[in-house]
């Protein structure tokens, strides 16, 4: 197991390197650069030599291979450099937004799990009854509904009925829990609902499959209570693919909620990514992409470890 963990950790490196190369090259292919955008604003008459000097200062005139090597060397030392647009350290830019994105991801995941597991189980147990149909309609609606649209509807609902809108700035949870939750509960609900739809359907279908297994029939024949059969024997075996889905969705939520963040005006990583790309802020975009890739790789790794905990039959050598 230790050898497996070490191998997986080492395998992360080529994955991340591949992402780094791809991101670096793709960004430079896209037309426009950060300097042009900075100095071509409203009424600006900045001389061309000033623009060239700025490009030189940011290292944009250096050969591509040198820019790449400098950047990778910095990343290896955990020095992500400074934003080409703001000049602030990238670590600082990300840190400001990371707390919100992480909290939102956790809240949405909790909501999704709290909805998906009971509903999926109930739907499987009450297959082809009105309960099953109702839950399936509920989950299909969640799949069909874009979370940002649901967010817009929620905001309108609050504005029209209560003439109240959520706060527009983020307050850390331990500073003011009420203000914090007033802001984040609504996007968490909007995102969590859609997220739960996927997990609900996965739970239902895998549990239905497991409940048809021989060992379930044996467990019932032994006289175990139905609850023990479903939870201890059925659900535990059905959870493996559900864990995968939940894990991958969680990884997506870190930095993937671009439109939802716009709707709720959340100062998260998704919004930061959009701004970085639109500004051609290469260093910041690269760092955010690497962060996203690292999150996916780590989450996948954690999922694989959780498999072992859930199912003793799974082992890695």
């Amino acid at each position: 197991m230790a050898r497996y963990i070490l191998t997986r950790l080492l395998l992360m490196l080529p994955t991340l390197l591949g992402v780094a190369v791809l991101t670096f090259l793709l960004l430079r292919v896209v037309p426009g650069d950060v300097v042009t955008l900075k100095y071509s604003g409203e009424g600006a008459y900045v001389p061309r030599e000033t623009i060239e000097a700025e490009r030189e200062r940011l290292g944009l005139n250096q050969p591509l291979w040198k820019q790449f090597v400098d950047w990778v060397w910095g990343v290896a030392r955990l020095d992500f450099g400074t934003s080409m647009w703001t000049g602030r350290p990238i670590a600082q830019e990300i840190a400001i937004r990371f707390q919100l994105s992480l909290q939102l991801a956790i809240m949405a995941t909790l909501i999704a799990v709290l909805l998906a597991l009971p509903l999926g189980t109930l739907a499987a147990l009450k297959q082809d009854t009105w309960v099953d149909y109702a839950i399936r309609v509920f989950s299909i609606a969640g799949l069909a509904t874009p979370s940002f649209w649901l967010g817009i509807v929620l905001i309108l609902f609050l504005l029209i009925l209560f003439r109240w809108s959520p706060p527009v700035t983020f307050t850390p949870l331990f500073e003011d829990p009420l203000a914090n939750l007033s802001l984040l509960i609504w996007p968490a609900l909007a995102v969590g609902y859609r997220y739960s739809a996927v997990a609900t359907r996965m739970t239902r279908s895998t549990l239905l499959e497991v409940l048809r297994e021989d060992y379930i029939r044996t467990a019932r024949a032994k006289g175990l209570r139905e609850r023990a059969v479903v939870v201890r024997h059925g659900l535990r075996n059905a959870l493996l693919p559900v864990v995968t889905v939940i894990g991958l969705e969680f990884a997506f939520l870190i930095g993937g909620l671009v439109v939802t963040e716009q709707v709720f005006n959340l100062n998260g990583l998704g919004k930061l990514m959009v701004e970085a790309i639109s500004r051609r802020d290469y260093t910041l975009t690269q760092a955010l992409t690497m962060l996203g890739a690292a999150v996916y790789v780590v989450v996948n790794f954690i999922i694989d470890i959780v498999y072992v905990l859930l199912d003793p039959r799974v082992s890695y050598s």
Binding site: V30, P31, G32, D33, T36, L37, K38, Y39, S40, G41, E42, G43, A44, Y45, V46, P47, R48, T50, A53, E54, R57, W85, T86, G87, R88, E93, I96, R97, W149, I152, V153, I155, L156, L158, L159, I160, R163, W164, S165, P166, P167, V168, T169, F170, Q262, V263, F264, N265, N267, K271, L272, E275, S278, R279, R280
Partner: protein, 588 residues
């Protein structure tokens, strides 16, 4: 949608899906303001512009069209509390749609820097917050201009202090303007060219600053009132001229407290401010809200009181419908215009007949009526904002190509010119545009329609800002929508964009015209106002009528709905001006 004869619509599931989709879309769109013009925002009632800076020129302004939306607009001074006694206290919360690339006013040109940072800084002179474009002193107590117009002597107040308690003296003013006008290597000064007439800046004593000009420039006093000319501390500039890019230390009405990138910016009243009694507010909080719909929701939900740049007509109507008398609307013509740049190097755009045909085809008067209901454009004008002191008079403007009232005759003439230029019916070209909904998208669509009426096909290509600017600068375009925004109505600013390409880095038309350059220089130095006007009008006629190097489509209309409790802020034609918040107060 087309269907062949005999084809039966499959009802039932198709219709039910359509109904479901319509309901969903209606729910999502109702009340949620969309900056894009699709579907329109509903007809908006003509809004009184009494609170605006300059009255619109009579014949030049087109009415906004019949309206039906409820109005809570308060005309005249009631909107900003004229005649009322200001109250002290309270925190103003306002929304800003973009973040500052840096905090240095000398370097940046965007409202995205100004709206956050202006409250922390003083200027040498500034525009009267209630009487634009009258120039009044800020740090300057008085000034004299020599009879030959070459020397400007300013006497400074003796009670001005930076927020660290040190006094602001003439040395700081000199250091500031040296940075703006004669920036050291590596320091960016976005408006350096504007002050090319200045030979030197002197500080003969701690309370006197003298600007010596190489030649008289009548606009100099107004140009010195630029809201971007923050006064910096000389000691800091000597040590590090880049310091102000990342730091804030001013002498303005508010101290800097906090900036959380992507979130908010906080300022608190500076108790030692040099104007007694001001500011009235305890502080302000600027919140970054990028999405226009979220901006409207913030104001509607009471999370913010105002957004200073401006909203689209549909967003205004949305707020008025929702908040009634709790909201007031101030509107003003805007010192921003949308125009079309032609690549004068590419055929057939290198043929003046073709360019003239393009401008003749556009019904600006009709477009103004229609577009002003869905977009932030309205006034028809030349290179100077209609109604501003140097604007071409309406009776002359209608003689310019494309500005006549008889659109049918103009389009006939356009077709004739196309034939003469050898441009065939159905000729296709590309119009590049920014992918910004307001007002670029509706104006681009309007232009495509207008040119279609003279038999031209236009590919409307909307690009993200990066590639768009790239193509403009490099000449990779045929025709492109572009904009011009300035902090005041001043020919030296508005006309500079259309100088020869080798003189103006902002001219993307790729033409050189020594006649234009000469006219510009002459008007810039002409002290007689009437003579100067003639020169400005000659310049405009050459750009827009004789050579049609570019064509102005419409001027923007600034619409600022805000909570009725916000007083002491009067809208001006410029969204850069009057943003230090020193006169703003809250009625409750």
């Amino acid at each position: 949608m087309f269907r062949s004869r005999g084809q039966r619509l499959v009802r039932g599931s198709w219709l039910s899906r359509l109904v479901t989709l319509t309901v969903m879309l209606t729910l999502a769109c109702s009340g949620a303001s969309q900056p894009a013009p699709s579907g329109g925002g509903g007809a908006s009632a003509p809004r009184p512009t009494g609170a605006g800076g300059q009255p619109a020129a009579g014949a030049a302004s087109a009415p906004a069209g019949a309206g039906g939306a409820p109005s809570a607009a308060s005309p005249g001074g009631a909107a900003w509390g004229e005649g009322l006694q200001p109250k002290r206290g309270g925190e103003l919360v306002f929304v800003v749609g973009a973040e500052p690339p840096s905090f240095d006013g000398h370097r940046e040109s965007t409202f995205a820097m100004l709206h956050w940072t202006a409250p922390h800084y003083s200027l040498l002179v500034t525009f009267d917050p209630f009487d634009y474009p009258r120039v009044v002193g800020d740090v300057a107590e008085s000034w004299e201009i020599s009879p030959d117009g070459l020397t400007y002597t300013f006497k400074l107040r003796d009670n001005v202090k930076f927020h660290d308690g040190t006094p602001l003296t003439a040395r700081d003013v000199k250091a500031t303007y040296d940075k703006i006008i004669f920036p050291p290597p590596g320091v960016v000064s976005a408006r350096r060219a504007v002050y090319s007439a200045v030979e030197r800046v002197d500080a003969p004593d701690p309370h006197t600053v003298v600007f010596t000009l190489k030649y008289p420039q009548p606009a100099m006093l107004s140009l010195l009132a630029s809201p971007f000319n923050f006064l910096y501390k000389a000691d800091i500039l000597e040590q590090d001229p880049h310091w102000y890019e990342r730091n804030v230390l001013g002498s303005g009405p508010f101290r800097f407290v906090e900036y959380v990138p992507g979130s908010h910016w906080v300022g608190r009243r500076y108790e030692d401010y040099h104007i007694p009694g001001q500011p009235y507010l305890d502080g302000f909080r600027a919140i970054f809200v990028r999405d226009p719909a979220a901006q409207v929701a913030a104001i509607r939900g009471g999370r913010a009181q105002i957004e200073f740049r401006g909203f689209a007509p549909s967003q205004r109507d949305d707020l008025v419908r929702a908040l009634g008398n709790e909201i007031v609307v101030q509107e003003s013509p805007w010192t921003c215009s949308l125009y079309v740049a032609f690549n004068n190097e590419r055929p057939p755009f290198n043929d003046v007949r073709f360019r003239k045909a393009l401008t003749l085809a556009v019904d600006r008067w009709g477009g103004s009526q229609a577009l002003s209901q869905i977009a932030i454009v309205k006034e028809v004008g030349g290179l100077q904002r209609p109604g501003s002191p140097f604007a071409v008079p309406p009776d002359q403007l209608v003689t310019f190509a494309g500005y006549g009232r008889d659109i049918n005759a103009a389009r006939q003439q356009a077709r004739q010119l196309l034939r003469e230029a050898g441009v065939p019916e159905g000729f296709t070209f590309t119009l590049k545009n920014r992918d910004v909904p307001m007002p670029y998208e509706p104006v681009g669509i309007f232009l495509v329609d207008q040119w279609r009426r003279i038999g031209l096909n236009v590919n409307h290509v909307q690009q993200e800002s990066g590639p768009f600017l790239n193509d403009l600068r490099s000449g990779e375009y045929e025709a492109s929508v572009d904009f011009n925004c300035d902090f005041m109505d001043e020919p030296d600013l508005q006309l500079a964009k259309f100088l020869s390409a080798d003189k103006s880095p902002a001219n993307y038309g790729r033409y050189n015209d020594p006649v234009l350059d000469d006219l510009y220089d002459r008007q810039s130095r002409e002290l007689n106002v009437e003579a100067r006007k003639q020169l400005v009008w000659q310049y405009e006629r050459r750009v827009l009528d004789e050579q049609v190097y570019a064509m102005v489509v419409l001027w923007w209309q600034r619409i600022v709905p805000h909570h009725a409790s916000v007083k002491g802020w009067k809208i001006t034609p410029s969204h850069y001006v009057n943003q230090d918040l020193r006169t703003v107060w809250l009625a409750q």
